[in-house]
Symmetry: C2
DNA sequence: TAATTCATTGAATTTATATTCAATATCATA
DNA sequence: TATGATATTGAATATAAATTCAATGAATTA
């Protein structure tokens, strides 16, 4: 890769980074190309040199987000509780160091709604189904008493919805993003764990 | 009140109802006046007969939402746990019967972000501080062992963020809004209760 | 019934924003 | 240094959505 290509890649990355933050904080429609340009300190015109359109930029971010918010499958764990504790611990940790991951989470979580999101993007999203996957793990774990009683899918839904909510509020209130003030991941795992 | 005034009030209410659902599902910017008009089965022009502008309509909804999502202060409770259990039980119940309240919750919860929201609206929002109020109740309750250990503000933040997340996901996935599939309010209260 | 007021529409206007484009500057390399 | 390629800008254009408005229809009241 030539020096110029690297430069180009860095510029693109800068734009994506700023856009991720803005899309997470304000949503797709409320984020104007002008906002992103200003955040990345460049002219609006230049944005179109790097990205074909606002939609394509968003699509690229979603594609990236799909990768980044989807570790669980790859994680290996001792027992099913570890699956959730390990993931949350990591997520909360990362959120302080690189708000990045938190923003991606917010963006991905919102895709469920938005009837206005183009089909190509919804498709990427549809392929990940955190709730479904986790429900299976919960169902299996319940047999060994790792989780509380209750419909596994509902438990999984409650758990991931809460995680989503916390990521969103953390995105909105940066003053909560310190070691001291961050929620403890164990509190959240207790949604599915109960006193099992 | 004359018959015509009543008629007018009903029309305004119809518009607000449809708008609440749309604003909750798609956000402010992505909800077009045309969308609301279509949902309320009237012309776009007529919308402006009833509401001065999209922003004023939104403001009115936020004002209404501030009232509806802010019961806790008025609730009386035996012990501090009741405060949260009672509120959540009611909220989840209502969400099935009248998605209304859920949508309002979503709208209110999102106001935290949106730097684009006009000042007048932010002001209404700023006056409610669920997290702050609840933190006090938690702090008081901890002394008597009603809640788990931990920073009261963080606990309150985690709790309300989770509620927010659940309301949002319920708004997005109506198939979860049945007695059987709804999360159990006790699961969520366990965030702050732990095994205390 | 006539006059008045309100409800409603669809088309015209304005405005905000995405997108295009021609011109210029900067960089890389022969 | 000259040439070509890429980066960058600001202004022009296109587009979509909010808002206004004149005209029409329906209800209400004198």
């Amino acid at each position: 890769m030539t020096a110029r290509d690297e430069q180009k890649e860095q510029r693109r990355q800068l734009i994506k980074d700023k856009a991720i933050e803005l899309f997470a904080k304000k949503g797709y429609a409320e984020t104007k190309i002008g906002d992103i340009a200003k955040a990345a300190d460049m002219s609006v015109g230049l944005m179109f040199h790097y990205f074909e359109s606002k939609e394509k930029l968003f699509e690229e971010i979603v594609r990236y987000g799909a990768m980044r918010t989807n570790y669980p499958r790859e994680m290996n764990f001792e027992n099913p509780l570890d699956y959730f504790e390990g993931f949350l611990k990591m997520l909360f940790q990362y959120s302080i160091e690189q708000p990045h991951i938190m923003y991606l989470f917010v963006i991905m979580g919102r895709l469920g709604f938005s009837e206005s999101v183009p089909q190509s993007i919804k498709k990427i999203f549809g392929e990940i189904n955190q709730v479904e996957q986790s429900a299976e793990i919960i169902a299996a774990g319940q047999k060994y008493g790792y989780f509380r009683e209750g419909d596994p899918y509902s438990l999984s839904f409650a758990f991931w919805s809460s995680v989503q909510g916390i990521m969103e509020q953390l995105a909105a209130f940066p003053e909560m993003r310190t070691k001291e003030k961050m929620p403890d991941y164990k509190w959240i795992v207790d949604i599915i764990r109960g006193n099992a």
